[in-house]
């Protein structure tokens, strides 16, 4: 079979064009990626520079704390309670085989305080508060409210973005800590109340194994990082959106997806740094 039947000059030209097109696409997405990275970094610097100006107008922050933090509270509390209850149920079924069901408190507390508290709160926060922030800011851009502010010599970053960013950064650790506390009580309710683990053992083993600095504070540091990144992504995607209804919907989707990736990826990095050695 002669290969010349397939590899004609025309075939080679077509394939080469296709390859070039593909490489060009790669280059374009690389440009897009780095352009976005640069824009978001500059945007973050502007936000950080705008924080001192916000302190003279705390009203703006309080309104955002309400919509970002307080309104996220129900889903956080309910999820925390159920995550704790499920952990207790699963942990009990495993530990009872070894006759070590007294260690249930440790298992529940360590998994919640170290991992699940910050991570699940981060994911829920991205879904509940981050998407709302992106949609709100994106719609402001699409309806030219941000441009209108600039016309009135009001900096939209100071007026709109900074309060939302700071509110997310403050709310997220508070929500994560509430999640952890509620989760541990959810585990207590199932473990001690329904499954009959000894109450004193539940708390005593937890107290002896959970360390305030190594476990609780590292979990809080994680939640600060997740809050920072998730809110940053949310406000940037909103501010950088294509100002159409389709653009806003895509930005909102991207916020949730990127935030979830960022939270899970950073969680691995932070865990390796904190508990790795």
């Amino acid at each position: 079979m002669a290969p010349s039947r397939f590899i004609t000059p025309r075939w080679i030209i077509r394939k080469t064009c296709w390859m070039l097109e593909w490489i060009r696409g790669l280059g374009r997405s690389g440009f897009d990626f780095f352009g976005k990275l640069g824009r978001s970094s500059l945007f973050l610097l502007k936000i950080l520079a705008g924080i001192p100006a916000l302190l003279s107008r705390p009203r703006l922050l309080i309104v955002q704390l309400f919509s970002v933090g307080v309104l996220s509270l129900p889903i956080i509390v309910v999820s925390g309670a159920f995550v704790g209850m499920v952990l207790a149920l699963q942990g009990y079924n495993t530990l009872v085989d070894f006759g070590a069901e007294e260690s249930l408190g440790v298992a529940v507390a360590l998994s919640i305080v170290r991992e699940l508290g910050p991570v699940v709160t981060g994911l829920l926060f991205a879904g509940r508060a981050g998407s709302a922030l992106t949609a709100e800011i994106g719609l402001m851009k699409a309806t030219e409210q941000l441009a209108g502010m600039e016309m009135m010599a009001v900096d939209p970053i100071h007026r709109v973005i900074v309060p939302r960013f700071l509110a997310g950064f403050i709310s997220m650790p508070l929500l994560a800590v509430i999640f952890s506390a509620v989760g541990i009580y959810g585990g207590y309710f199932v473990g001690v109340g329904l499954l009959g683990v000894d109450e004193g053992s539940y708390w005593a083993q937890m107290q002896s194994k959970v360390d305030l600095y190594d476990d609780v504070y590292n979990g809080v540091i994680k939640s600060f990082v997740f809050g920072f990144v998730a809110t940053w992504i949310a406000v940037f995607e909103g501010y950088d959106t294509v100002p159409t209804s389709e653009g806003v919907s895509r930005s909102t989707t991207r916020t949730v997806v990127y935030s979830a990736f960022a939270v899970l990826g950073l969680d691995f990095v932070l865990t390796a740094l904190m508990f790795g050695d």
């Binding site: 009203r59 309080i62 309104v63 704390l65 309400f66 933090g69 307080v70 509270l73 070894f98 006759g99 070590a100 007294e102 260690s103 507390a109 305080v113 709310s171 650790p173 508070l174 929500l175 800590v177 509430i178 952890s180 506390a181 509620v182 541990i184 000894d198 004193g200 053992s201 708390w203 005593a204 083993q205 937890m206 107290q207 002896s208 959970v210 360390d211 305030l212 476990d215 609780v216 809080v220």
Partner: protein, 156 residues
């Protein structure tokens, strides 16, 4: 203005709830919490070795929870561990020749104090000391003893 005040109130409550949750997490760890709302009396017992006993470990009599360990200390003069137990007031009929031993619940479980009542007419009172105690079993010592015995049996 009414709306603003409600918002401020809710935000304040949110922040307070966050701080309170952190406080709860810290208290769980730092073990500052006192418990026991019901009335109680205390007993002390001295052990050569308490093994893995901890404060708030259970005190059992016949497998029933009758109290909790409230503090553990070490007596520098007599080289013994001093265990203070907070006993439920409902169970205050232990004779003064009760034996306190430290056992383990299950293979990997927590250690607890077991009280075996004797036959004396006199009862233990609030603040009194359990005279007869058995220390916790240390696995390494047991293994060592077992090896020694088997070596003797072999006539070595």
């Amino acid at each position: 203005m009414k709306q603003n005040k409600t918002t401020e109130l809710l935000v304040g409550m949110f922040i307070a709830a966050g701080v309170a949750a952190l406080f709860v997490l810290a208290m769980k760890v730092s073990n500052l919490s006192s418990f026991s709302a019901t009335s109680s009396y205390t007993l002390t017992a001295r052990f050569d070795n308490i093994g893995g006993l901890k404060t708030r470990s259970p005190v059992m009599a016949g497998g029933v929870l009758v109290g909790r360990v409230s503090s553990i200390d070490y007596d520098n003069q007599r080289y013994e561990a001093v265990v203070v137990m907070e006993m439920d007031q409902a169970y205050d009929q232990f004779p003064d020749d009760t034996v306190a031993s430290i056992y383990t619940a299950g293979l990997l479980g927590e250690q607890y104090v077991a009280l075996d009542p004797g036959g004396s007419e006199e009862l233990l009172e609030d603040g009194s000391q359990v005279e007869f105690t058995t220390p916790a079993l240390v696995l390494e010592k047991l293994v060592g003893k077992f090896l020694l015995n088997s070596a003797e049996d072999d006539g070595l």
